[in-house]
């Protein structure tokens, strides 16, 4: 796959369709993948990678990259295409300046996931059908895919590309993913249990802002948390409003726009399951206002900037199932 992608990227550079390529490269460690922009065939050969560690959603980087001259090639996994469409819906970049190639994805793992299986000294990773083989300086170890996939990939919502100029490999289908199971489990708890759960999780937050910085829905020119005029940003910890409410406010800001790509949880250094906040909103929206998948199509009207005269009353919250 990686080879095909490099070859096609070179062609497109060569024939002048694009002048840059947005892809992935290895960081300090092989599992430490970072998004990168390549401008020459040599750079592609030298650094471009695509393997089971390449979880990063590249769509967000288009906001900045399309401000530059020329057209850019971007590789999009199925779930990235939803973010891609959502950003287009919000007029965040110029579609004319992007050449999008859809690529298949059988789910991604992470350095952390692999290390949790007791491996160290990781030197590479290979995929073969349902198996993923991790190479280390000590041994090669083969796993069944499901064993080491990230949570978001185990509950993958779609293998279907909803936006692309061309496709490498086969397109997949929208899946029935059980991704709301954990949300439902939380909903079934007592309020005390839920509160205990969330307090223990949110208390871990160190406010590194990684979740916000990686989130494809968080592309604001200026984030409210960085803007004293918004009334919620605090330079010093004069009060704890922002600290306490950061994740709730952020989840609300992206509600109806979040495509559930799961990047927030992937990058959280404290392993806070932030996607469970976003998924709660998505689940509620689906249940109360009808199924809605952000980014499924360009130009759709997000549920929070929409209404029907017959919408449920907020009091439904008091009457719903659960404790």
């Amino acid at each position: 796959m990686q080879g095909m992608m490099i070859a096609r990227a070179k062609e497109l550079l060569q024939n002048g369709t694009v002048n840059r390529v947005l892809g992935w490269q290895t960081g300090e460690f092989v599992y430490d993948i970072t998004p990168a922009v390549f401008e020459t065939a040599e750079e592609l050969d030298e650094k471009f990678v695509y393997n089971a560690f390449c979880g990063n959603n590249l769509s967000k980087y288009l906001v900045k990259e399309t401000k530059k001259d020329g057209k850019i090639l971007v590789f999009l996994k199925p779930c990235d295409t939803y973010s891609f469409n959502q950003l287009l819906t919000e007029h965040r970049f110029d579609r004319e300046k992007v050449y999008a190639i859809g690529i298949p994805c059988d789910g991604k793992t992470s350095g952390e996931m692999v290390k949790s299986k007791g491996l160290s000294g990781i030197t590479g990773i290979d995929e073969d059908g349902d198996n993923i083989t991790v190479h280390t300086i000590y041994e090669d170890k083969t796993f069944n895919r499901d064993e080491i996939l990230e949570e978001r990939c185990r509950t993958c919502k779609s293998k279907k590309h909803v936006a692309y100029d061309e496709l490498i490999g086969e397109d997949g289908e929208v899946l029935d993913s059980h991704r709301f199971d954990m949300v439902a489990k939380l909903e079934a708890m007592t309020p005390d249990e839920r509160f205990a759960f969330w307090r223990s999780q949110l208390s871990k937050c160190i406010r590194c802002n990684a979740c916000r910085n990686v989130c494809p829905a968080c592309t604001c020119e200026k984030c409210v948390f960085d803007n004293p005029a918004s009334g919620i940003a605090q330079k010093a910890a004069a009060d704890s409003f922002e600290e306490n409410m950061f994740h709730i406010i952020r989840a609300f800001h992206v509600a109806g726009r979040c495509t559930d790509c799961g990047e927030c949880s992937r990058v959280c250094p404290q392993n806070i399951p932030l996607h469970l906040l976003n998924r709660k909103f998505i689940k509620d929206i689906d249940e109360l206002y009808g199924d809605y998948q952000a980014g499924a199509e360009v130009g759709s009207r997000a549920p929070l900037v929409n209404y029907t005269a017959e919408d449920v009353e907020p009091s439904i919250v008091y009457h719903r199932e659960g404790k």
């Binding site: 949300v183 939380l186 909903e187 309020p191 005390d192 249990e193 839920r194 509160f195 205990a196 759960f197 969330w198 307090r199 223990s200 949110l202 208390s203 937050c205 009334g231 919620i232 704890s240 409003f241 600290e243 306490n244 409410m245 709730i248 406010i249 989840a251 609300f252 509600a255 906040l277 709660k280 909103f281 509620d284 929206i285 109360l288 206002y289 549920p303 929070l304 900037v305 929409n306 209404y307 029907t308 005269a309 919408d311 449920v312 009353e313 907020p314 009091s315 439904i316 919250v317 008091y318 719903r320």
Partner: protein, 145 residues
């Protein structure tokens, strides 16, 4: 032992200028009592109320927050309360999901003619919130244990 009856809940009520604030005025004109714990903030429309304001109130020590607007279909700005309705439904559901007592938040549609409803709503809301006691949870969601 502190006095049990000394507890007075802090209630913030956001009222839209056209219906509910006028309804509150009517309650006053008709001398309909409700507890002094309710403090009203006037906003042009229920759709002006950012969930941020509600979170802010809770975090600053409010024990209950209620949003009052025109009845759906009667919004002075035609559609404002429809958006408010969705926003608040999702916000309340989220607060409940976080384990915050759901009875601390409420939306009520009160028209300019419903002074009695306004007073009754406030009486009911204050007693509901008072029964829950102080709001500790949102004030300290991220307590370092």
């Amino acid at each position: 032992m502190p006095e049990v009856n000394a507890y007075k809940p802090k209630i913030v009520a956001f009222c839209c200028n056209w219906c509910s604030y006028a309804g509150a005025d009517l309650a006053g004109t008709n001398r309909l009592n409700y507890p002094a714990d309710v403090k009203i903030i006037r906003v042009p429309c229920s759709c002006r109320v950012n969930p941020m304001f509600i979170l802010r109130a809770f975090q600053r020590g409010a024990d209950g927050v209620i949003l009052c607007g025109c009845h759906p279909g009667d919004c002075h700005y035609t559609t404002g309360n429809y958006y408010a309705r969705r926003r608040m439904t999702l916000l309340f559901s989220m607060l409940d999901y976080l384990g915050i007592e759901k009875e601390r938040t409420r939306v009520e549609w009160v028209s300019a003619a419903e002074g009695a409803k306004f007073a009754a709503t406030m009486n009911d809301f204050v007693s509901t919130v008072a029964a829950l006691g102080e709001n500790k949870r949102l004030e300290d969601l991220r307590c370092k244990e």
